[in-house]
Each structure stands twice: as structure tokens, then as C-alpha cells.
Amino acid sequence: MPIQFVFLWTDALIYVLLAVVSVFVVYAVRHEHLRAPWSQVARRPLAMGALVVLLAYVAIGLLDSVHYRERLAKQDQYAAEVKSLLDTLLQPLRTRTERTYSAPFAIHAFTSETVDKPDGTRERAYPRLKYGGAHLATADERAGDIGRRTARALGTAVLVWLLALGVFVYWRRLPGDDYRAAVMRFIRGGERIPWRTIWATTGVLLLVLSCGVYLSPYYHVLGTDQVGIDVLYKSLKSVRTGLVIGTLTTLVMLPFALVFGVAAGYFRGWIDDVIQYTYTTLSSIPGVLLIAAAILSLQVYMATHPESFDNVVVRADTRLLFLCAILGVTSWTSLCRLLRGETLKLRELDYIGAARALGVTSARIMTRHLFPNVMHVVLITVVLDFSGLVLAEAVLSYVGVGVDPSMESWGNMINGARLEMAREPMVWWTLAAAFVFMFGLVLAANLFADAVRDAFDPRLRR
């Protein structure tokens, strides 16, 4: 085998999550009470646009979740370095590191250096970058070159988009429609699913992607950071971190919140008391302090068991997972409380009482009747929590208890960028890149979450 797959803990959980989501989708399609609200979501243009953006992020995250080692050319063994599929795709971005800062599209270094001149004297100057714009002879060619490449990128993107759209319209045309009519119908819109918005969003994403593909091999599109790593690469690598924090946290805490919340509401009595006591106690500890203490203890564990963490990637991954877990501990309490309240209401309903009278076991009642009926609460919470968790990561990294410092994340980028802001001239691109990427994800998540909540929350259904 030329490669050896490496399964990190978070990778495994992501695959589990993927499986769960797929099962859920199949399940939802088959059941009318779930299909209805989802099709309501699907009718909202804004939500569907957001979904396209989210899927783009998810695609990047998934690509970054397949890890492997490469077999070394000569020896009969695998390289120690763990790479992901995304790393391989972005190979040129990853390896083309400069010495230190450079501005977006720059071809000269951002800071001056002492350089040796041929005649033996030394001079302080802004040297040419090793990779950024290395194909250009002089700085004057830059604008023209960028313009040409952008034009080519845009052209390609539009072409691909039109082609795909054409196929799509052809595939979607109604029986008996001629192609022209199908196109007109698409342009007019008015279908139940807002295909126009979806395609427009896809188009914009395609443009961005195409520009990236055409320009980033020749320039550092978003500049480089202090040690010369391409900021675009860093931003893309951060996507996975954000997604993992946003989703796995929920996945980790969900079983507890679900079981405890429903059990407390269903059994009442001392079980309820114990569970209520547990979550009140947990939620009354300031979250940051709990997280800080837990992360510190993880570090201790890692320090005392270095043999299990001999690899940078494994270390960072363990810390990430642990962070998810501890964030889960601090955030499951509110969901648990909601579920308990919902179950309290449900258990008074006739059919549950009837089931109990018929001698159906509690376990069966909970799994067959209660869990499915509180799912909308879970769903809304999960979707609403997502963006909050992505934002929380940045703050935690600032306090110093976030993800591993060797891991790419928006929080780490912002944190580093604070010092760069004070530079003169200012190094703004790391901050800007982190802002844009993070903003895109959180905004899309918020818009999508809105639609989901409107569709599932019976209180607001009018």
C-alpha cells in the first residue's frame, strides 16, 4: 500500500456523526411529521443559500478528516508525518513557506532584512519573496499578471457553472417541456425549492474557488504569517477545527442530556432530584474555570504519558477532543433542563398513560414514545448551539485554554493577530482572513438555524 490510513479520535467521531446524520436523513424522508418541517426549511431561499455555504465548509472539513501516512520512496516504512487529504490537495500552499510576513499578493517581503550584496557589502532591503510572484521578472508586471489570471479564473468558473446548470435544468425539466421552456421556468423561479438561490450561491462559491485555484499557486492570496506560512492554508485548515468544536461537542454531550433529561422528567422522584442536583451544580460553576481546570489536567496527563502522544497531530487531536468533551459538560445542562420540562409535559398525555397502564416497560416508553417526541427540542438546540460554540473556541484560545497551540484554528489566528495589529504598517491580513472565514461559517449557521427553529418550534408556527 502506498499509504497507511491513520484514524484520529476526532476523525472516527466525525465518521460516526456522518453516519448518524445520514440515518437521520433517511428516517426523516420516510416519516411525514419530520418531512413536513424540513420541506418548510427547504422552501426558504436564505436558508438554502446558507446550506450551500455550510456544505462547502463541511466538504473542506471532511477532506481534512482523512488522515494517512505516505510510504517513503526508498525505505520499507511510512513517513512519521501525518497528512490529511486536504494537505495533499493544498500541497503547493503548504510547502511554499516564506521566511516571515508578506502582504496579500505581495512579491516583496514585508519586513526589511540585511542582505549580502554581490560586492560583499550588506544592505537593509525588502528582498523578493521565495515563492510569492516568483515567476515575475519585475514588480511592474504584477497588476497585469493578476488581472490576466483572475480573468481566466472567472471565465473558467462561469463556463463550468453554465455547463453544470445546463445539465441540471435538462435533468429537472418537466415531461413534455422543451429545453427553452425549462430554462425560462428556472429563471422565473417560483418552484417550491429555491433553486435559483442555490445556484447563485454555488456560482459565487465557484468563482471564489476558481480564483483560488488560479492565483494561489503563484501568489500568497491572503499573505503569509510570521513564519511565512500561507494564511489561506491556515484559514482552510482552521475550518475543520471550527466544525469539530461546533458539532462533536453536541455529539458528545447529546447522550447524557437526552438520557438524563428524559429520565428526570419521566421517573421524577429521587432520580429527578439527583439529576437536577447534578446539573444545577455543574451549571453554577463558571464555565471558563471548569474548562481551564480540565485542560490543565489533560496537560498533566499528557506530560506524564508522553509515550502515547509522540506525534504532534495526535496530541493536538486529543486536546481538541477533550475540549469538545469539556465544552459538552458545560453545555449539556441547559438542554437537559429543556428536555426534562418537555418530558414532564409529555408524560401527562393520554397515550403515555395508556402505554403505562398496559404494562409497557419504561425503557420502551422512553425509546418509542418519548425520545422521538423531544427530538425537535434537541434539533433546535443543536443547530442554535453550533455557531455559539464556534465563537466560543476563539475566546477560549484567547484565555489560553482553547485548542492546542500547534493546531490551526481561528481562535489561535485571532490571538496571534492581536500583536500584529500593533505593527506599523499594520499586519491586517491574518485577522481579516480569520474574520471572513469565521464570519462566513457563523453567519451561514445562524441563517440556517433560524429556518430550522421556525420550522420546528411549534410556539412560533403560525
Partner: protein
């Protein structure tokens, strides 16, 4: 009942007026200091973390010395201007020459060989008439009885800070105060960091510490709150009070460095009254301790101590009137450093230290004129400094326009990357390990690190000694031949191929051992913050050049210290700041008996070479001269060959000051330098106002935009209302 209400209204009006007054239109709005201090003779400085100890027996770090060195006066100090660093008397009348004695206490000539000298005696004569700062510990009533020396806990509870005591007094400095402080270094409750060192030197100190510990245990067993161990009742063999102003210290053997110790605050005078005062019951509970409120004879006294926000040094009204030095290095006169020669010190009335944890606000405030001096933060280097073609530095045009000037100096410190000599991979004294270490030393390009992470502020180390310390050699003679070649008139790092060759010779061809397993090295660090990430990445890149993998084992500070103590680390970073300007203070970092593992010493690499140790024992007692230089050369060469450190760098300090600050000369050893500085407050006030005109229009613009956004809605709502009134059920 209407009266309180009107009073309340009046108060509100008053507050509003006051708020209005604090932001007068013309003055700078962003002035963080009270308006009243506008033209006061105050120096503004900052501290970035609360000093842990202000007790001279405990304090051992630079940020603490920034305060107490201005308050406490040891017998000697370093000359402000002269270089190389020279000791001059401070409260003493002269820097004494030691008297040497043999085993039977017979006097030996000054030229006696070190081996024959059993004891050295230093006799210090104080200048009479020096008085302490005003302090309640000295306060006496009309009958001459101490006022605040026998308080009960209930009375103490009424006082929150030292300023709350209504009466203060002073007293003349006497030799007994110095003796008292030397005894305090052995006090079991103080954990003085130099107790161990002094126990090796001062005659009878080890026994003295034992005696005190026993007495202290007895006292503690009695369980009294505010127990006071009266050190005057316990005699110490090695110190002697000759008369009111003279005392002697007797130390084992010959130890010329002892004089340097006596220029540190550890040897500042401590009046027993002050110690007794702060030992009274209830004092410690109120944070009233010597560790918090220094009592000294120096030019300044600490009047405000709120480490959450501000610490203020104020001119000591009882200061003994030291004069500005009249001579210095050649060039000092041209630089204007001798203009104040012979003037009485200090020049500045008050020094306000504000808490400033982060670089960015500090730098911004410096540029706005709210701090008088600043280091050059890394991220603002290009803004502040212009580096010329030959590496010479000057301030940038922007700084020049503001009248800011730059001072540079190489610090007497060393930062290095150490190898744990006890480690099975990188440690050991065999050929394999040595070549591995040498290869790594070549691969880690310190020049690049200095360029990237320090903006060129530092010089790559050729050995353990920084410049400015005796034994350091400039130029070709000082080059480390295992890492550098001398070419083109400067030291050039050997090419990476040389390192690869060494690595292959060590048995790791292309970064793999004989079985083909890749060589994996561990770098242990406590640096976990994101700011450190870039540097750690860089370090990984360095070893990548040899195809060696570096795994960063980052842990918290404690775990790191623990690892170092147990010898579990592999590669690590460490640093040392000179205590005093003598090569012994650096070479002892490699002295075998001083190992971290087992010896609890400062030899972090656990380096242990018998030949080196033998030479060290010879070198440390020698006086500076060609003989000593020869021994040092031998030692440095041994260390370079064994390469227990991948020699790191000696940082350079760049400091900026505004045009209104004068008499500043970088001094890496002395800490009591505030008294020499002078400022021109008028000039500062003018500059501040010119640089800080508030810009208000963007706020007005945003407001206007908001209103413009809302107006159409209001208008159309009005219209709708009108319509619905006209046709009610619509």
C-alpha cells in the same frame, strides 16, 4: 421630605459638572492620568505583573528590583556611567580591600596564593548621618517611647495601609542594620534564595540557619500570632560590629565575587524596628508586611502600593544627598550625560508605575506621550527603528519627528537551547552523542532566529560568556570553531552539509538510525501560548533540515520545572541573567556539582566534565588578568567541544525615550538608576496635547447615518397611521 431629594439633585448636578470638567474640549481626552498632574515633575513607567516580593531578603528578580533598588541601599553600587562596570561606595565610605587570613587567623599579604587563604575579611565603614525614610516603625511619642511597636490585633485592624498610621519618624543608619539584614538571610520563614550560597561563604552561616530554625520551631509551637524572632539576640560568627558605623564580614577562603553580592539588595540595611513593627499580631492579615512595604534610606520611598493598578515612588525627604557622578566613559560628555555632574540626586519628584500587562497598550501610550520610556516591542520594530547598511541602528523618521531617541546595549544574559546530558539519546560524553549535539548546534540557525523573532536584537552566542563580562573575546579569537567558520572577516555558520556529515558520523545518516528508524527528538517547553507557536514551528523547521523530527512537548510551567529537576527533558530552552559582572556567574552554569538533577543547582543541562570542574574551581578565586583569561579560554573550549548547549544568543536591549527625558545610559547591572534621570514636564505637556487631538467626526457621521436610516420608516409609519384613522376598520 423634599430636602433629601433636592440634595440628591444637587449632587447629580455636581457629578455632571465634574464629568463635563474632566473632558474639556481642548485637552487630550485620552490622558490616563489626572489633569492636575499635567506639568508635575513625574516620571511615568509601567510594570507588567505584580512584584511578588519587595523584601530585600527574598526579592530576586528584575521586576522587583525596579522598585526596591530605588528604596534600599546596600553598601556599594555600580558606577552609573563607567564601563566596564565598576563598584563604587554608596553608603560606605570606600570599597574595602579584603584582609586575608590563614587557618589560624594569621594575617596574610594581599598577594598570598588562593590555596593558602582560609578566610577573607571585609571591613565596611559607613558614612554617618544617613537617615531612613519617614516610617511609623520609627515614630516615638513625647517621652521618646516607640509609638507603634506594641499594638494589639484590635488596633492593627483599624489600619489598612502604612499611610493610615498618623505619626512617622526616622533614625540614623548604623552598622547594626546591615548585620541584622545579613542575619535575616538565614531566617527560616523568609526562604531567602541566596541562603544556600551564603551558607557556603559566610563563616558560621550554616550553623546560624540551623539555630534560627530551631528557635523558630519553638516559637511556632507556642502558637502565638505575630511571632517575632529577635535576631539581635542570636549572634552570627561571621559578622562583627566594630563600632556604630563599621562592621566586618568574614568569609571562607578567597571569594572576590563577594563584593558584588554586597552591591545587591540582599545586603541592604534593615532596621530591626521595622521588622518588629511588621511582626505585630494582625499585621500580616492586613497585608502589612515588609514584603509589601519597603523601609529604606534610598532616594525614593514607596508611598502607594496597589499592585492591581499603580505603584508610586516618591522622593524621600530624608535622602542623604548623593551627587550626580562627575566622570564617565569617553563620549559621555558629548552625549550630554555629564551636564548634571555634581548636582544633588534625585531629579524627579515622583515615579508612577501603572499596571500594563500587554505590549500593545504600553506602546500606544508611549507614542501618545503617556509613558516616558519604552523598550522596542518586536511587532513595532520597523515602525521605530531603521537599520542601516552596516547593521547600525537609528530611530525611524517617524520617531525622529517626535524627538524620540534610541539607546542600544547587549545585555549581560544568555538564552540557550540546552541538551540534557543525562538523556540516553542526546546526552553522554561519547563520540556519537557529541557529534549529534554539534550537528544540531549547527542546524539551529540562531542568526535567523534573531532576525525573525528579535528583529536582529541580539548576537549569536559563541560560548557561555556574553560581551561585557571578563573573559569574553571579540572577533576571530572568540569564534566557536565547532559551529562557525571565520570567513569574510566575520563568523559564518557552517553549512548544513557539515551538520549532515556530523549526523552521519554519529550514526544517524539522513536522520535515521542503523535500523532505519527516524530519529525523533523531544523539545520540552512551558511555552504553550499561541505567540510561541511561530517560534516552535521555526524550531521544527531547523531540525527538519537534518531530516530529524522534533516533537514539541509543551506543558505547563510546573510540569516543565518538574521535568527539568528530574532530568526527564531532552532539549529545552533556558536562560541566565547576570547577578554580577563576573565570568564565574556564567561558567558556574556548567559546573558539575551545580547540576540540576541531584544538586538542585542551576546547571540545567546537567553537564559534568571533571576537567572543566577542576578549571572552574581554579578560575573562580582568581583576580581578573591574563592568567584567568587563559583558564577561561580552556574552559570555554572544553564546553564548545562537548556542546552541552546549542549556544543560543545574547539579547540586545533597545530602549526609546522621549525628548523630554535626559541622563539615560543603559546599565545592565545596576538597578538603582531612577535617581539619575531627569525630565522636562513642560515640554511633555505640550507634546501630549499636540499628539492627542480627539477626532470626533466619525461618531457624528455614524449617528447621522443611523438617523437617516430610521427616518423613512417613521415617515411612512405616520402616513399609515393617518390612513388607518381615516378609514377605521381597514
Amino acid at each position: 421630605m423634599s430636602e433629601p431629594k433636592s440634595e440628591w439633585r444637587a449632587r447629580l448636578a455636581l457629578v455632571l459638572v465634574m464629568i463635563g470638567l474632566t473632558v474639556p474640549a481642548s485637552a487630550a481626552w485620552n490622558n490616563p492620568y489626572p489633569e492636575a498632574e499635567r506639568t508635575a515633575n513625574i516620571l511615568y513607567a509601567a510594570f507588567n505583573e505584580r512584584p511578588k516580593h519587595l523584601d530585600p531578603a527574598r526579592s530576586y528578580s528584575e521586576n522587583e528590583y525596579a522598585f526596591i533598588a530605588q528604596v534600599y541601599e546596600p553598601p556599594f553600587q555600580y558606577h552609573y556611567l563607567r564601563r566596564p562596570y565598576a563598584l563604587v561606595p554608596l553608603t560606605a565610605t570606600a570599597v574595602p580591600r579584603p584582609i586575608y587570613l590563614d587557618k589560624s587567623n594569621r594575617r596574610l599579604p594581599p598577594t598570598a596564593p588562593a590555596g593558602a587563604i582560609a578566610y577573607s575579611i571585609y571591613e565596611i565603614k559607613l558614612r554617618p548621618g544617613i537617615r531612613y525614610q519617614p516610617h511609623p516603625a520609627f515614630a516615638r511619642d513625647e517621652r521618646g517611647q516607640p509609638l507603634f511597636q506594641s499594638l494589639d490585633a484590635a488596633t492593627v485592624r483599624r489600619f489598612n495601609t502604612i499611610a493610615d498610621f498618623p505619626r512617622q519618624g526616622t533614625r540614623e543608619l548604623v552598622a547594626a542594620d546591615y548585620i541584622y539584614q545579613i542575619k535575616r538571610l538565614a531566617h527560616p520563614a523568609l526562604h531567602s534564595p541566596i541562603l544556600g550560597v551564603m551558607a557556603d561563604h559566610i563563616v558560621g552561616f550554616k550553623d546560624y540557619a540551623r539555630t534560627l530554625a530551631a528557635a523558630w520551631r519553638k516559637l511556632a509551637a507556642a502558637g502565638a500570632d505575630g511571632a517575632y524572632l529577635d535576631l539581635t539576640r542570636f549572634p552570627l560568627a561571621g559578622v562583627e560590629e566594630v563600632d556604630r558605623y563599621t562592621f566586618r564580614v568574614k568569609i571562607h577562603g578567597k571569594y572576590p565575587q563577594f563584593l558584588y553580592w554586597m552591591a545587591m539588595p540582599f545586603f541592604a540595611p534593615m532596621p530591626p524596628e521595622a521588622d518588629r513593627f511588621f511582626s505585630q499580631p494582625g499585621m500580616a492579615q492586613k497585608n502589612l508586611t515588609l514584603d509589601w512595604y519597603p523601609v529604606g534610606t534610598g532616594p525614593y520611598m514607596l508611598t502607594v502600593n496597589n499592585p492591581n493598578r499603580q505603584m508610586v515612588l516618591e522622593r524621600n525627604p530624608n535622602f542623604h544627598g548623593e551627587l550626580y557622578p562627575a566622570d564617565g566613559e569617553p563620549g559621555d560628555a558629548v552625549a550630554g550625560l555629564l551636564k548634571d555632574a555634581g548636582q544633588p540626586l534625585p531629579f524627579i519628584d515622583r515615579v508612577v508605575f501603572s499596571l500594563e500587562k500587554e505590549n500593545i497598550p504600553y506602546w500606544t501610550k508611549f507614542l501618545q506621550g503617556y509613558y516616558d520610556r519604552s523598550a522596542v516591542p518586536n511587532e513595532s520594530f520597523d515602525q521605530a527603528v531603521r537599520v542601516g547598511g552596516s547593521g547600525d541602528t537609528e530611530v525611524s523618521d517617524e520617531m525622529k519627528a517626535r524627538g524620540i531617541s534610541l539607546l542600544t546595549s547587549v545585555q549581560t544574559s544568555t538564552f540557550y537551547l540546552g541538551f540534557n546530558m543525562l538523556d540516553s539519546v542526546v546526552g553522554g560524553y561519547g563520540e556519537r552523542a557529541r557529534k549529534l549535539r554539534q550537528a544540531i548546534s549547527i542546524a539551529i540557525d540562531m542568526e535567523e532566529q534573531i532576525a525573525i523573532f528579535r528583529n536582529g536584537r541580539g548576537i549569536a552566542a559563541q560560548g557561555p560568556l556574553p560581551p561585557g563580562i571578563f573573559g569574553y573575546k571579540e572577533g576571530q579569537a572568540g569564534v566557536n570553531p565547532y559551529v562557525y567558520d571565520w570567513a569574510n572577516g566575520r563568523a559564518e555558520r557552517k553549512p548544513i552539509e557539515a551538520a549532515q556529515r556530523l549526523l552521519a558520523e554519529a550514526g544517524y545518516a539522513n536522520g535515521q538510525d542503523a535500523t532505519g528508524r527516524p530519529l525523533l527528538l523531544y523539545f520540552d517547553t512551558a511555552a504553550t501560548g499561541p505567540e510561541q507557536k511561530a517560534r516552535l514551528d521555526w524550531l521544527r523547521k531547523q531540525l527538519q533540515k537534518l531530516n530529524v523530527q522534533l516533537v514539541v512537548r509543551a506543558t505547563d510551567y510546573n510540569r516543565f520545572q518538574e521535568k527539568m529537576r528530574k532530568g526527564d527533558a531532552q532539549l529545552f530552552e533556558w536562560g541566565w541573567n547576570a547577578d554580577y559582572p563576573d565570568p564565574e556567574n556564567f561558567l558556574f552554569l556548567l559546573y558539575g556539582p551545580n547540576k540540576k538533577v541531584g544538586g538542585e543547582g542551576e546547571n540545567a543541562a546537567n553537564y559534568d566534565n571533571p576537567e572543566f570542574d577542576r578549571l572552574f574551581e581554579r578560575m573562580r578565586n582568581m583576580d581578573n588578568g591574563p592568567e584567568r583569561q587563559r583558564v577561561i579560554d580552556q574552559m570555554v573550549d572544553i564546553a564548545r567541544r562537548d556542546a552541552p548547549w546549542a549556544w543560543g544568543l545574547h539579547p540586545m536591549q533597545f530602549s526609546l525615550q522621549h525628548a523630554w527625558v535626559s541622563n539615560v545610559k543603559p546599565n545592565n547591572i545596576a538597578n538603582n538608576t531612577l535617581k539619575y534621570m531627569r525630565i522636562d514636564p513642560q515640554r511633555r505637556a505640550v507634546a501630549r496635547e499636540a499628539w492627542n487631538r480627539p477626532v470626533v467626526w466619525p461618531i457624528a457621521a455614524v449617528m447621522a447615518l443611523l438617523v437617516a436610516g430610521v427616518m423613512p420608516a417613521v415617515v411612512s409609519y405616520r402616513r399609515r397611521e393617518l390612513r388607518s384613522q381615516r378609514q377605521p376598520n381597514g
